[in-house]
């Protein structure tokens, strides 16, 4: 039994609160605990590596196999090099991204945006199969 529930029962025993009030408090407490539990299950661990795996298709066994594992901390450190991209190149990249529907401004990018970008890589899952090779990009 949690400390909060015990306190409610003590208050009920002392007559500080009525049975109805105690019932309402217990229901509210249960709802709050359930919400906390659901939040805990939604929180996923931060990925440690970005993996790129290239495998040949079953009918092309002569193809190359590639396995690259990049630590997320290296990606974080590498993203800081973005500031060294010349402005004219940044403009070209931004316009190319805009054509793909991605609105990105390198000049206004803050360290917390970079962190959010890396954190959201957790959802990244790319699979490309061109018949000869199968490419998978994911985080683990």
């Amino acid at each position: 039994m949690s400390a909060e529930k015990r306190k409610i029962l003590e208050m009920l025993a002392k007559g500080t609160i009525t049975t109805e009030e105690a019932e309402r408090l217990l229901i509210a407490l249960d709802a709050s605990e359930n919400m906390q539990n659901s939040v805990k299950t939604v929180t996923r661990p931060t990925p440690k590596y970005l993996k790129v795996i290239v495998e040949p298709a079953a009918d092309h066994p002569e193809g190359e196999r590639v396995n690259v594992r990049v630590p997320m901390n290296l990606i974080r450190a590498g993203l800081k090099w973005l500031t060294f991209i010349p402005k004219e190149v940044q403009g070209k990249v931004e316009s190319a991204l805009k054509e793909q529907g991605i609105d990105m401004d390198f000049q206004r990018m803050k360290p917390e945006d970079m962190e959010e970008l890396v954190h959201n890589l957790n959802d990244l899952q790319v699979e490309v199969d061109d018949g000869k090779e199968h490419v998978r990009v994911f985080c683990e």
Binding site: R65, N67, V68, R69, P71, N73, L74, G78, K80, W81
Partner: protein, 90 residues
């Protein structure tokens, strides 16, 4: 964490397998005095460049250190019909 060992494996068509464990920690120890010397020169150069408006020179030092220190865990494994190359920073 800074990588301490670089593990390399090369396997060629003839089946000859070479595994190398390069002790990077020895390299860091050897490079440390040189790095301290270069760091002092770079710091002065960076401050002068900062005053002249070239701020990137001073920023580049922590970025290089940061990238080097975060190499641990990097793994590259390429396997072709003729050769297999495996490289891991440990």
């Amino acid at each position: 964490m800074i990588p301490m060992i670089l593990k390399m494996k090369i396997l060629n068509r003839s089946g000859r397998k070479t595994t190398l464990y390069l002790p990077l920690f020895l390299l860091w120890i050897l490079l440390l005095p040189l790095f301290i010397l270069i760091f002092a020169i770079l710091l002065i150069a960076g401050i002068i460049a900062w005053a002249a408006g070239h701020r990137y020179v001073l920023i580049i030092i922590p970025l290089v250190i940061s990238c080097t220190c975060n190499l641990k865990g990097l793994l590259v494994d390429v396997e072709s019909r003729d050769e297999t190359i495996y490289m891991e920073f440990m």
